[in-house]
């Protein structure tokens, strides 16, 4: 029993970081009032570029290049939605499509249709004391980024709620005109949030190709970016909510894989497809129960125009 729990915890902690980073990226962007349905595309760019970069440089550096790639893609979104006040959902979906087709095209042009050559995975950290304690052992032997994913939501929470910077960022998503009257630049704040969101989504993608796997595969991130969107809404656009929701999804996934491998007889009663659908059904159910109208940032999705009031 203890071992099963330990294995579950371990694989949750393996799968969660990518989702946590991407979800935080979504939270950052949307709290500043810019809808970001392009998370999937930004993750894909991060995953692909990080894997390619890691072929030529140490993997941690590659991860950073991947983050920049996520931000680069996000900057297109920023340019269209902040500078040109385009429809933010449209621009986000366009980014997803371009990243999907463009990634496939580049992958085949440069490597093989299935994936990049293998790279050196991010090193895993063995935590000295914990490593020998049953159950707690599950916390050890993860890449450093996994620990960052555990800490970052709390830092975000503190910054967003207890600093002037965080207050401005939230204000830009709620009442941009009020922020403008204080002499602050609404576009600059939104640009910062969108680029930061891109960096985080890129990091989420990079985790997939450098820590979870050791290469970029054709279908990475396989819908995880959309899951991150759901986790963001489910977590009510807060960093800690995002953390909880992303961990919950990762746990659900670990549970499904764990069940399939440790107790195959369960699959005879509950079909695999049903288990696959379960996290999404649960999300729908929880969203239905909580009703979400009240918690979204008030100015989310509305382009900012200096003249209109």
């Amino acid at each position: 029993m203890l071992e099963i729990l330990e294995a579950l915890l371990f694989s949750t902690l393996d799968a969660a970081p990518a989702l946590i980073f991407a979800t935080l990226g979504g939270v950052l962007s949307e709290r500043a009032g810019v809808v970001n349905v392009g998370l999937e595309g930004q993750m894909r760019a991060g995953a692909f570029v990080a894997a390619v970069a890691a072929l030529y440089m140490p993997t941690p550096l590659g991860v950073m290049v991947g983050m920049v790639a996520g931000a680069a893609l996000a900057s297109i979104h920023g340019y269209l939605s902040i500078r040109w006040r385009s429809d933010q959902v449209v621009s986000g979906m366009a980014i997803n499509l371009v990243a999907l087709a463009g990634g496939t095209f580049l992958l085949e042009a440069l490597y093989s249709p299935n994936g990049t050559p293998p790279i050196a995975q991010l090193p895993r950290w063995k935590l000295p004391l914990i490593h020998d304690v049953p159950l707690l052992r599950a916390l050890s032997d993860h890449p450093g980024l996994a620990y960052l994913a555990l800490v970052l939501p709390f830092i975000f929470h503190a910054v967003l709620n207890h600093t002037a910077m965080g207050l401005r960022l939230r204000a830009v998503g709620e009442k941009p005109h009020a922020v403008a009257t204080l002499g602050l630049s609404v576009p600059a704040l939104r640009w910062g949030a969108v680029l930061g969101g891109g960096l985080l989504a890129g990091l989420g993608g990079a985790v997939l190709s450098t820590a979870v796997l050791d290469r970029f595969e054709q279908h990475t991130p396989a819908g995880l970016g959309f899951m991150a969107l759901a986790a963001m809404v489910f977590g009510r656009w807060t960093p800690l909510g995002a953390f909880g929701a992303a961990s919950f999804f990762a746990f659900g996934n670990a549970l499904r894989i764990g069940l399939a491998s440790s107790a195959p007889q369960i699959l005879e009663v509950v079909p695999q497809g049903f288990l696959l659908a379960l996290p999404y059904l649960l999300t729908l159910l929880l969203l239905t129960i909580q009703g979400q109208r009240s918690s979204a940032p008030a100015a989310l999705g509305t382009p900012y125009e200096q003249e209109s009031r």
Partner: protein, 370 residues
């Protein structure tokens, strides 16, 4: 140039720019000669091999590629309309894929499990698929109207639910075709001959009735949107819910209707795929026609005519893309063009600003803007 056509200019320019960018992409990754050759092959594959035809005079050289293009276009018209109709009511239907999966499955089941006389079987299967798609879309509408769950999130979730339940359970489990004569079968049982959409040109082309159905449906959607009171009310609700409500329009009801219609259209796309080309629900419904619908609707400016033209263009591109593969160009190439075109369309306002500047230069008598 009329106002209507001027609205289409950004889309047309976007598609052209996407074609140019992609040509450069092939030229860079391969070489210039291959890039030119690839586009020529794409043209032949999508619009017919005219040079060969003029030489040999074999009609199949035109009918085969055009039939392929029309088959792809039929699906894109229907999923594009699905997204467009929801758009007109102010809803973003990202769930066309899930609705299509559900529609395909129901069409496959009705086609295989039900016996009906020829002229009835096809309408039955189409109707059943449309109803199933509508029902699936109405879940999202209900969640939005009663609980305020945003349709972008709920339709994304419903896509995954549909794909998981259908592809990973029903099709490989309860509905899997019984393996006959030793060969392993993937997908559901084959549909009866009476449920197959008839081919319009016999054996020389795969062109089938689905194309005609799609065009007719597009016409009906246009009539509904532009020539009926309900369609007008739906558009009014989409343009501004508050104003529409003040004018006495039942906004919620119109939104739910539009979403149901969006689901029905995507469901029909599934039926056309199953009844026209696949003849069963295949192992996995691989192609993301539902997601393509989003791009088609947006490039087509959510206008039934624009959607139809865009779908015809990308249908030809898809059919041509298969031919490009012969030159070693990746088969996802049409999708790249489509994605880039959508990205450029998202910059619609950039185009309009550029055009305005040009017009201002061309007509200096115009009052200069502050």
């Amino acid at each position: 140039m009329g106002e209507k056509w001027r609205a289409a200019v950004p889309s047309i320019l976007s598609v052209l720019l996407a074609l140019v960018v992609c040509w450069i992409a092939i030229a860079l990754t391969r070489d210039v000669k291959i890039a030119g050759e690839a586009y020529l092959q794409m043209l032949y594959g999508g619009l017919g091999q005219w040079p060969r035809y003029l030489e040999v005079g074999d009609g199949a050289l035109l009918a085969r590629p055009l039939g392929e293009a029309a088959g792809k276009a039929a699906l894109l018209i229907l999923t594009g309309l699905s997204v467009a109709v929801a758009f007109k009511a102010g809803l973003f239907n990202i769930g066309a894929q899930g609705q299509m999966v559900v529609g395909s499955l129901v069409a496959a089941v009705v086609g295989a499990q039900v016996s009906a006389p020829g002229p009835l079987h096809i309408p039955m299967a189409l109707l059943a698929a449309a109803l199933a798609g509508a029902a699936w879309a109405l879940i999202a509408a209900a969640l939005k109207l009663w609980r305020g769950v945003h349709e972008v999130i709920s339709t994304i979730m419903l896509n995954w639910v549909a794909v998981s339940l259908v592809d990973n359970w029903l099709v490989v489990g309860p509905l899997r075709a019984a393996a006959g004569s030793g060969q392993s079968v993937s997908g559901t049982a084959e549909i009866h001959a009476t449920a197959r959409l008839p081919r319009l040109l016999g054996d020389i082309s795969r062109l089938n009735l689905g194309f005609v159905v799609a065009l007719l449906v597009a016409l009906l959607v246009w009539v509904w949107l532009n020539r009926t009171r309900r369609g007008f009310e739906t558009r009014a609700a989409g343009l501004g819910a508050d104003a529409a409500r003040a004018a006495g329009i039942p906004v919620k009801q119109r939104a739910a209707e539009a979403m149901a219609m969006a689901g029905a259209l995507a469901g029909m796309a599934g039926a056309v795929l199953v009844l026209g080309t696949e003849f069963r629900y295949p192992g996995v419904l691989g192609a993301p026609y539902g997601f393509d619908g989003i791009a088609i609707a947006l490039i087509g400016n959510s206008n039934p005519l624009g959607v139809t033209l865009t779908a015809l263009f990308f249908g030809a591109l898809r059919a041509g893309g298969t031919r490009m593969q012969l030159l070693g160009v990746h088969k996802s190439f049409p999708e790249l063009i489509q994605g880039l075109a959508l990205l450029f369309v998202a910059g619609r306002l950039v185009w309009l600003a550029l055009l305005r500047k040009r017009r201002a230069v061309a007509a200096p008598a115009e009052v200069p803007r502050a």
